[in-house]
């Protein structure tokens, strides 16, 4: 499990590499939160192109970050999802609150 970060202006892109479950949740939370508290960060993009598994513990991680960023008037977006991730986002209702795009470029243009 790894989280890689890059910045595009005030947008933080968090690429999650590996499996996001209860075991890796605390690590991923901590990594992202350390970046989010930086004053230069306004919006957050979750890049799931290298996410190989997610369960409801991972949904908890997304929801927590989403709540934080929207409280500060920022936006959260998700890009590059596979079938399993898509089904999890659908069942958990994430699709209704966080927009999902095909790739980072499209997400940044829309933001």
């Amino acid at each position: 499990m790894k989280v890689k970060f890059s910045n595009k202006g005030t947008t933080l892109i968090a690429s999650i590499i590996g499996e996001l479950d209860h075991h890796s949740a605390d690590y991923v939370k901590q990594k992202i939160d350390n970046e989010l508290i930086k004053s230069s960060t306004k919006n957050l993009i979750f890049d799931f192109s290298n996410l190989t598994f997610i369960d409801s513990s991972g949904i908890g991680v997304i929801m927590g970050r989403y709540k934080y960023i929207t409280k500060l008037n920022g936006k959260a977006l998700i890009v590059n999802i596979c079938n399993q991730t898509s089904r999890m986002l659908e069942i958990s209702g994430i699709f209704n609150i966080i927009p999902v795009y095909d790739n980072i470029e499209t997400a940044i243009n829309i933001m």
Binding site: H22, S56, R87, M88
Partner: protein, 148 residues
């Protein structure tokens, strides 16, 4: 309906065993060649049930989790068993978004995921003795009754 194969494993209630359990279940059901999406459904459901046993059953203390799998020609039955604290109110626990641990950023979607990804889920629990989750899934992609 007679199973064509069976397996049992037992492991410590450590969070790194969540991945271990779901990968074992995925490898076991692969024998009858379900689709990748069907395997992902089984993997995710096992992950939810084992995570529940570790977080809620044993509350992150040491314990033992058992997984029993029975493979049929077109489906699988999986039991996840813990001897932890048990569920007080099963109906409440099954509700989407219900969690007894909101402070841990739990989404409360575990049972909802299992209900959606498997055909059938049964929860038996006794306070102080533990919880048994039984799940069943038919792999609709497998149509031929037998192939040798």
């Amino acid at each position: 309906m007679e199973p064509i194969n069976e397996m049992k494993i037992e492991f410590l209630s450590k969070s790194n065993n969540e991945a271990f359990a779901r990968v074992v279940a995925a490898a076991f059901v692969s024998q009858i060649d379900p689709t990748l999406d069907e395997i992902a459904d089984v993997k995710t459901s096992v992950s939810e049930a084992v995570t529940n046993a570790i977080i809620h059953g044993y509350e992150n203390k040491n314990g033992s989790v058992k997984m029993y799998c029975k493979l049929f020609e077109r489906g699988v039955e999986i039991k996840i068993i813990d001897e932890g604290k048990g569920i007080e109110n099963i109906e409440e626990a099954r509700q989407p978004l219900f969690t007894s641990k909101p402070e841990m950023e739990r989404s409360g979607m575990g049972f909802t995921v299992m209900e959606n990804f498997m055909d059938y889920i049964e929860i038996e629990s006794k306070i102080g003795s533990g919880t048994l989750i039984t799940m069943f899934k038919t792999f609709k992609s497998i149509t031929n009754s037998k192939c040798y």
